[in-house]
Structures are given as structure tokens and as C-alpha cells.
Amino acid sequence: MSVNATKTVEPPPLEFHDLTVAYHKRPVLWGIDLEIPKGQLVGIIGPNGAGKSTLIKAAMGLLPLNSGWVKVFGEPIGKNLKRVGYVPQRESVDWDFPVSVMDVVLMGRYGHLGLMRRPSKKDRNIARDCLEKVKMLPYANRQISNLSGGQQQRVFLARALAQESDIYFMDEPFAGVDAATESAIVTILHELKAKGKTLLVVHHDLPTAKEYFDSLLLLNMRMVAYGPTEEVFKYDLLQSTYGGRLTILSEVAEAVREKS
């Protein structure tokens, strides 16, 4: 962390220091050190079980950390929750839940409202604009179970837009969506980036990763590489990300779980 004494610079949107996270005592992320500058569209790439979702959940304070720390705009996450937007995996909720599309998008405003306050007309207008952006306004009053996979993803994206955050975490927003939705999401990601927002997007598909993101974070239980896409999207780096896990690392992780 560089401190500039002469002028006040805003601290980086996201900073990990020696982050280690474990599930049931089995480490899934080891010693991540990372600083993400403002206005970056970062793709998080890695094989199954590499800890991609774990990383963003840890960043948002949804998981306990075993060691290290996370800072969002130079402060612990708890102080900057309103500056963080989240798109969870689509499968994480029950789509038969009795709410309308509009209700879900309004939830994006809840964090700004504080306890007991109801969404105002202004919040409704913001939600409406966000639905318009993802081209889902005609569906505002539909119950969410009638939506296709791509439409569900757009609703989640609209909810995150309604959060009006400065840093966004998205967990596989491209999983199982149609081509039209995919390109709509890419457009919105670039718009957000142009507005100076920072975005971390868990992504599964290597070929498109290269064109969608301007920097990549290669992850496989530890950080393999982070940098501009053209520098990081290299055969040897991808090979060490995907070419089998570091066997000793996973064996030790397993041993840690069994011994404790």
C-alpha cells in the first residue's frame, strides 16, 4: 500500500492482503495479495473449485477469513457496504418466490434506505430505469417464475444497477444465458466501467474471457497471475492455472481438514 503524503488519493477500490479462506477448515484460497485499481473490468478465471466465488464472497464479508484482510476503498467492508453491488449466482435463489420483477429490483435500493423505511417514488424510478437498461421494463409486474434464464439474469443485473455502487461483484453472470442477454450484459459492463466503476466478474468461458475483460485474475486456490488481459492470457499461465491443481497444495488442504 503506497501512501502519498503530499496529496490525498482515494485508496484503491479493493485490496486483499494475505487472504486465506477455508470451508470446514479446509483451505480453498491461500495467501491472496492483490490490489485492484479504479475503473477496471476484471475477469476472474480458473477451473472448478479454484475458489472464484469464494474470493468475491470473502471480499464482501460473506465468509469468515482465516487470515489476512480485505479493504474496500481503504476501509473494512462493513463501513463501505453501500458502495458494493452484488450479482449472486442465479441458482442461489428460489425463483418461485412470490415477488414480481419490480420487487426484486427494488431490493437493490434497500441497502440505501436503512431499517424500516419503505422504497420511495424516487427509488421506484431508479428501479424502473435499471429495468429499462436491461430491457426488462415490460416484465416489471410479472412474477419471477415466468422468466427464462437470461431474463432472470437481467433482473439480477438490474437489481445490482439499482444499488448504484462503485464496485460490483458478479458471480457467473453469463452462465446459462442466451446470446442476446450475453451481449446486453457485456454492453452494460462496459458502460459501468466507462463511468469509473470497478467490476469483478467470475467467468467460466476462456475464449470469451479474452474479449470481454481488460484485465484477468487467474485463480487456482492461489493467485496465479493478475494483469492486463494481453499480458496474462498466455499459454504457460493458463497452463499453470488449469493444468491440474498443485497436487501438494490440495493434499495439504485435505490434511488440514482431517487433522483439525
Binding site: K57, M60, G61, L62, G78, L81, K82, V84, Y86, P88, S92, V93, D94, F97, P98, V99, S100, D103, V104, M107, Y110, G111, L113, L115, M116, R117, R118, P119, Q143, S145, R159, Q163, F169
Partner: protein
């Protein structure tokens, strides 16, 4: 199976205590109307308490049940409500009388302890939630039955704890009512104030946490409120069935609406109706405990929603499906008429029933029934003493549309999807009935407004569709809407 301990305990109890529950008051009016007047007039204090109590418990159980059902926690509600039983017994043992406050505290603590045990088993072992729930439900209930049986046999026992098993609205007293009013008021107030928080944590807990909501506190508060609602309902409904008063009214509401706030309102209303109905029937008849009657009333409400619900109801679904298949049948008849006309190159207007029957490989009676169906829907008229059928303009238009849809789809499958021409007919038979006008236009554009299907037959165009008044002559050679 989970009621095995209860059956054993129940036999013991039955041996010890022959009488179930008193009916509400000792009333000798004979007519139901007289009794209804008396019941709903709030005149008799004991009847008044029963009625108010049923209303209050119905509202609080319905409201909490709404959250239980959408959070898929129905089994948790069941376990919690059985786990309160040892607490009821201990609350009684506290000073050997049915002190509502002592029983309330004991039962709530036992319920929460049961909930904590479930969480403990789930987190420290590989067992899943349903197993943990099963273990806790049965064990707590067994302990409760043992304690209750001991209490029944104690000297100086004033008796009557069995009403906690199956419920007796008649036993609701003044202090019970106060407790119920406080709990129901609290439930309504908190749900009203924190609706937004409860909604977002119920729908997407991870998102709620990321947005800074105290998800754990909200969950604990909801569990506590749930335990309160169960405990105040115990007197009237009984431990065995109180979970049904949580689940059934809310489940009925879930079948009727797609919005959470309406679901909660309906669930509370259904809970209220079931509670009052149960208490009233128990007032009319002797010796049936209130709990089962309330649950039966709730089940009636659920059955009504299940069969007659306007959107998800079984009858409506059946009706929609039936009318859809009747429409498909009519459209197939129209298509057959078109085919007959086409075979004789649109020479003459009428198609005889014999021709129609031959075309569809059916009996004359079947053809007649189908023609009647067409006439009823103003698609055709009968002529020649009912032996020939003429299409009306609407009938002709629909026939053209169906044939057009069929042939367009066949052509699309052959040309664009490269499926063999002899494989496409079956598919088109289904698709022809569901293609919308917009899709048809897209198809036509994709196919460059083709005029012949893969089998070389003409595809009816717009001109044929609109020339309804003169259904004569072969289809226009130019199709498509570009030429309009």
C-alpha cells in the same frame, strides 16, 4: 411414523383421563342458528374468549406461516411446535398450576432449545437438516409425553393438561387472551415495520447480507416470533396439530397469489377463518377437541384454493387444457375441410360430411359432432339437411391460417434446419396451432415469402385469409405481407 411416541403416550393418557375437553359452555339451544347467534354475539364470557382467541391465533399463525412456507421451513415449524411440549410440562411443574405465563416461558424456551439442537446436529455432523429435524421432533415430544403422563398421576393435580395435546378453545381464559393479543400484536407490528428486511432475507440471504442487513438477527427474531405464535396457539390447537395452522393457511394463500404482501394478508385471513370455524364447530358438538376441527377447516380452505384457484387451481388448469384441446380439434376439422376443397381444386363451396369423415378417417357421427362444434363457434353452417358443411368467413380465415402455419413450418424445418421432408409433418401438426402472427411473419421473411411447401402444395397467403367472403378459387400465387 414420527407420531409413534405420541400414540404410545396418548394411550396412557387415554387410560388415565377418559374425558377429552369440555365443550364451550353448557348450552342447550337446539337450532344451529340460535347457537351461531350465541357464539358470535360475544355474550357468554367463555365463548367470547374462545372466539377472540381463535381470531388472534389464526392471524399470528397465518402471518408466521407465510414466511415459513416461502422459506421452505415447514418441517422446521413442525419440529419447533412439537418441541415445546416438555416446556409446557415444566412450566406447569413450576407451581403446579396452569399459569399461562409460566407455561408460555417454558414452552418458548423448549421450542428454541429444539431449534438450537437442530442447528447443532446439522453443523457438527454430516447429517442433513431433515434428519436433524426428525430426531429433535421425536425426542422432545417423547420427553414431553412422559412428563405429562407423570403429571396426570401426581397427587393434588388439578388436571386438564391433555388440552395441550389436542387443543380446547373452551379452556382459553382471560390471561391467555392477553398473552395472545400481545403476541399477535407484536407479530403484526414487526412484520409491518420490517417487511422489507424480512422480504429480502427470505428471498436472497446472501444478497441481503452483502447489502448490510443483519441477516442472522432477522432470522433469530423470526424464529422467536414463530415460537411465540406456536406457544400462544397451543391451548386452542394443541401441540400435535399446531404446525398445520402455520402451514396450511399459508399454503392455500401461496396457491392464490404471486405477491408476498398479499400472501401474508391472505394467510392471516385464512388462519382467522379456520380458527373461528374450528372453535364454532367444537362449540356445536361435544367431545371433539378444537385442534383437529381448526385444522380440518384450514384443510377445507386449502382444498378450495387447490381446486378453484383462478391461476394455479386444478379445475382451472383442467378447464384450460380441455378448451385448448377442443380448439385444436376444431382447427383440425377446419384443416380437413380445406384439404377436401383443395383436393377438388376449390370447386364448389360445400363439403359433405361423408367427404369430411373419409378425409379424417372417422365415422359419420364423429364428423357430425365436429361440424356441430364448428357451427357452435360460428366457423361453419350446415346445409342440405345437415349433410354438408359451409365455412363462414371466420372459419375460412382460420382454416387458411392453420394450413399456412403447417406448411410454413414444414418448409422452415426442411430449408433452414435441414430436416428431411418426410420427417416434418408430425412436428408441424403441433406447431400449427400455437404459432403467433408475429412468428409467422418472421417465418415468411426467413423463407423469402415462399409459395410452395416441401411437398409442392401451395401455401395460403394473406389474400386468401382476407377473401373470407368468397372462399372460392385456388390460393393466390403471391404470399406474404410485403406485397400488400
Amino acid at each position: 411414523m414420527r407420531h409413534l411416541p405420541f400414540i404410545a403416550g396418548f394411550c396412557l393418557l387415554a387410560a388415565a383421563m377418559p374425558a377429552w375437553a369440555d365443550r364451550i359452555g353448557d348450552i342447550s339451544e337446539t337450532s344451529v342458528i340460535e347457537q351461531a347467534k350465541r357464539f358470535f354475539s360475544f355474550r357468554d364470557p367463555s365463548v367470547r374468549y374462545a372466539l377472540i382467541g381463535s381470531i388472534l391465533l389464526g392471524i399470528s399463525c397465518g402471518l408466521m406461516g407465510g414466511f415459513i412456507v416461502v422459506r421452505k421451513m415447514a418441517l422446521f415449524g413442525d419440529t419447533l411446535s412439537h418441541a415445546v411440549l416438555p416446556g409446557v410440562a415444566l412450566g406447569f411443574l413450576w407451581n403446579m398450576e396452569k399459569d399461562p405465563v409460566a407455561i408460555f416461558i417454558g414452552a418458548t424456551l423448549a421450542g428454541l432449545l429444539g431449534g438450537a439442537m437442530v442447528a447443532l446436529i446439522r453443523q457438527t455432523t454430516r447429517l442433513k437438516e431433515d434428519t436433524a429435524l426428525g430426531i429433535v421432533l421425536a425426542s422432545f415430544f417423547a420427553v414431553g409425553i412422559c412428563l405429562l403422563t407423570r403429571i396426570q398421576k401426581m397427587p393434588g393435580n388439578k388436571g386438564g393438561l391433555d388440552e395441550f395435546l389436542f387443543g380446547s378453545a373452551a379452556s382459553i381464559g382471560r390471561s391467555d387472551i392477553i398473552l395472545m393479543a400481545v403476541v399477535t400484536g407484536l407479530a403484526v407490528l414487526l412484520v409491518g415495520l420490517f417487511y422489507k428486511e424480512l422480504l429480502v432475507t427470505s428471498f436472497d440471504a446472501a444478497f441481503a447480507r452483502a447489502a448490510g442487513f443483519p441477516v442472522n438477527i432477522i432470522n433469530y427474531a423470526l424464529t422467536l416470533l414463530l415460537a411465540f405464535s406456536v406457544v400462544v396457539a397451543l391451548r386452542a390447537v394443541g401441540v400435535v396439530l399446531v404446525s398445520a395452522m402455520l402451514i396450511t393457511p399459508a399454503a392455500a394463500a401461496y396457491l392464490l397469489t404471486d405477491r408476498m404482501h398479499r400472501l401474508l394478508g391472505l394467510a392471516a385471513l385464512f388462519g382467522l377463518i379456520s380458527g373461528v370455524m374450528g372453535a364454532f364447530i367444537s362449540f356445536l358438538t361435544t367431545n371433539i377437541p378444537t385442534g383437529p376441527l381448526m385444522v380440518m377447516a384450514a384443510t377445507m380452505v386449502f382444498a378450495l384454493a387447490f381446486f378453484f384457484g383462478p391461476r394455479h387451481g386444478v379445475l382451472m388448469r383442467w378447464w384450460r387444457q380441455k378448451s385448448r384441446s377442443a380448439r385444436v380439434q376444431r382447427e383440425n376439422t377446419l384443416k380437413a375441410v380445406y384439404h377436401v376443397l383443395e383436393a377438388r381444386e376449390f370447386d364448389g363451396e360445400g363439403v359433405s360430411l361423408r367427404e369430411l369423415a373419409e378425409r379424417r378417417r372417422e365415422t359419420l357421427d364423429e364428423a357430425r359432432a365436429q361440424s356441430d362444434a364448428l357451427c357452435k363457434h360460428h366457423m361453419a353452417t350446415l346445409h342440405d339437411d345437415g349433410d354438408a358443411i359451409h365455412l363462414t368467413p371466420e372459419g375460412w380465415q382460420r382454416a387458411c391460417e392453420i394450413v399456412r402455419n403447417h406448411r410454413l413450418w414444414e418448409l422452415y424445418l426442411t430449408n433452414e434446419a435441414h430436416i428431411a421432408p418426410d420427417h416434418v409433418h408430425e412436428d408441424a401438426e403441433i406447431i400449427e396451432h400455437v404459432l403467433g402472427e408475429e412468428t409467422v411473419r418472421e417465418l415468411e421473411r426467413a423463407l423469402n415469402h415462399a409459395t410452395r411447401d416441401p411437398h409442392g402444395r401451395a401455401i395460403p397467403g394473406l389474400a386468401d385469409l382476407t377473401s373470407g367472403s368468397t372462399p372460392f378459387g385456388p390460393p393466390e400465387t403471391v404470399t406474404g405481407y410485403a406485397s400488400r
